[in-house]
Symmetry: C4
Subunit: 277 residues, 4 copies
């Protein structure tokens, strides 16, 4: 973590440098930066609740109006946040060039997430699109949840666990898909005569195989012939055995990650600002 | 465990000191204290059974009368227990003051639990409240179950495991809630046109997402479109992976706790009586 | 394993000693004893299949007749086995007395299991009982499955795992029962007004709570109110967390037991014959 | 890995030796061999998708025609692959004899899998069989999935895990079957009077027992009597405990296998070519 570009000694004098420290580094104003992060986290969570409530058809009109007001306010805050970040980012060593640096920053994952948090709201306000697009845009506001990735230790932990165990996950997913296909095909062969509507094709039987292998068991499609039930029993026992595999792998990596996490600083990783791209 | 206030040498002479030892410490009368604890445990469990049976509409009138009698008797016993504890507690170093000490003791968690075990019964007997309150009071008698926390090693173990892993639980609960929201929103987008009644809003779709992520799979709401079923399969496999995470964490802490528990004395922790508040 | 009573040098000369070795010890005739054990295991498994098939109402008459013949044959074999064991057991140090020793042997768990394997068949043949008893007796033939405990390493392993983890199982069962009661009562409070038929009483709501906590999720009883569904979600997530606890405990003990098992001799434990009671 | 038969120094000159290296060894042409393996893997996966889509009754005619064309092409490729392998295999030390060696190779598991990948297609083209056989042959094309065993690390890992834990799996399967029978019989006794259609026989009750022990819980058969529900609760809790056993065993072996796998070379095991049979 070399922060040589703005010297860790005296506090930054100029407003832009102060903003940069507050928004991206949190070195000279750790309390302010933490409070800002907390405020954005709370705002994002309120936005998530708003999107969820907004989808209820028979919602109270007063609440609906409140949600619309809140949406406008959130859009203003997130827009301002994006603008300030874009303005201040040239303080970093990596994005120093006024125009090219800002463009390059705008293409980083974190900046794209911040942009994605604004676009659906702007689309909704613009009045340029038809209802279908507007409805989609309303749901896409949920993407603001991605902004939590910058502040939430929980999400960062999960992301690291998934990254660390990605090899095992690929192996397991491959086995899971093949197993679903094989089990679905076998059941199609056994049950499609007795229940031509339920087990109408291999994809339909794969739906049943999935609900059984994962032990979800909705019960919307169920074998009724003796041989079908015998096979279903084998598949259910198989499901428990095979699908127990990732539990140990992921669980172990999760515990390890949480422990190592506690030992490191809590503000997160600032290296991405100074690392040459 | 410094029990200097009543000297661990000779047996206490005065009745109050004997009561205190029997009810709270169990040092000079370990057998009596253990038997008293067992008796209260059994009485609480019988009370739980009584509350459960009492809710059955077509219960046998003789049994209903017996339950009412038993309720009166239990209320008397728990009331007497509370009164005796309140009377004897001034023997402890921490609650020595006759009035203030007793008041301060009455605000401790264990004393509040003992109080809560009496109030619903008193409310039911008072004849001052309407039916709705009485019905609620009848159910609240179940709170007597909390009294087990003083005697049951099982519940103390669970409480310690939950306390020890509370950090992981918070992280996991946060991920679980976000995941339920995201999966519910995706499914709402895919299925609400085909099944406008079942997937009527994001909260309704979140209900489906919860049953799938936890692999409960009631089957009251089930996707029917091909894309909905594909997404449901992904979510079910995801559920197994993600929700396997806490299993390892909690299971490990539980084993550890049970082992360390065996090495310590079985009567419980008396330190709370002498620790200065 | 002191087998001093019949000297491990020369082969036993008398028929009774040979029988005893074959049936109970397997020292001088290891191959014969193993084959006998395998034969009885196979016979028991065929009996289990017979009991299962016998319960099918529309069974083929020929198969039904065959099953009746097979039942008679099995009864004869198990009866002969019991008689021979009773005859030969006085060769052991522990049950030497001709009458008292045999009586004492007859009260050991393994001998009782052998007796229980015969009684239902005898009851069925006697013609002394009414239909209800006969139907019960037919099902009780399934108890012959217990005879596998003498020969099956799998069942012995499971029994040892359960014995070793019995402390944890009691703690966990206690928590599971309390949790089912508490969750059932809460749901009864929330849903009994909206669905008075489904959540008619606390026991009925406990049935729902059990299906959710274990993630079985039949879907025959499902909450429909928003608060009921919110509580159900909490309970389902809780269920995954709490019910993951025994998995680690039992799984670990199972692996350990299987490993230690491989290192010891495979014929089983003969100590019970010579240990003074 | 002694590859003395064709010297690891200079590249093979003759076409047959080059083919052999490309198809079976991958020593002199590692890039070509890997690309060939990848191409066959992709072709097999496309075949699996084709079989799955082909079963959908209302499929688009254009797509159906495309699938038929693709099937012909695949059959040609797999046939050519088999012929080339058969032609080149005599280069190996183990199958050197022109006719007997080729016959012996044709009986190896991998060669049988390659043969099985061709036969259903040939049967379908031959026009010699009735509709029932043709339908079966269409599904059997899914057996081409077995060809992945030669190239897929995921499948090889799973196969090794299953082989390593086969002892535990047998023990567990035995317990699972016995438990299903016992639970099914108990429930048959308790519920068959109240629900003679649902719990008509022990096999029918075993179907219910399986859905409960595995926590699949379709909900098509559910106990309704109080005693039946009490037993069902016990069985569901039992299911979680007992069926957690294999999770630890398999999960542990899977992690171990994946780790050891990473350390060894990725192309697979060529020893089978030179090992004397």
């Amino acid at each position: 973590m070399s922060l040589s570009d703005h010297g860790s000694g005296p506090r930054p004098q100029r407003l832009r440098a102060q903003l940069f420290d507050l928004l991206e580094v949190g070195e000279h104003y750790p309390v302010g930066a933490r409070r800002l992060g907390l405020a954005i986290t709370v705002l994002v969570l309120l936005n998530v609740i708003a999107v969820v409530l907004d989808s209820v058809p028979k919602i109270d009109p007063t609440l609906a109006a409140l949600i619309r007001q809140f949406e406008l306010m959130s859009l203003a805050v997130f827009g301002l946040e994006y603008a300030l970040r874009l303005y201040a980012i040239v303080e970093s060593a990596r994005f120093r060039a006024p125009i090219l640096g800002r463009l390059r920053w705008a293409m980083t994952p974190l900046a794209l997430v911040d942009l994605v948090a604004i676009i659906p709201g702007v689309v909704g306000l613009s009045g340029l699109f038809d209802l279908r697009v507007l409805r989609m845009a309303r749901l896409l506001r949920l993407l603001r949840i991605l902004k939590l990735g910058r502040y939430s230790v929980a999400i960062q932990t999960l992301a690291r666990v998934l990254k660390k165990t990605s090899g095992e996950i690929v192996v397991f997913a491959f086995i899971a898909v093949l197993l679903t296909i094989v089990c679905g095909t076998l059941m199609y062969q056994l049950e499609s005569e007795a229940q031509p509507e339920q087990f109408s094709s291999i994809p339909a039987s794969m739906w049943w195989a999935m609900t059984t292998l994962t032990t979800v068991g909705y019960g919307d499609v169920v074998p009724t012939t003796p041989w079908g039930r015998l096979l279903a029993s084998l598949i259910a026992f198989l499901g428990i055995g095979i699908f127990a595999l990732p539990a140990g792998v992921l669980g172990g990596a999760f515990v390890e990650e949480l422990r190592s996490r506690r030992l490191t600083a809590h503000f997160g990783d600032r290296d991405h600002l100074n690392r040459p791209s």
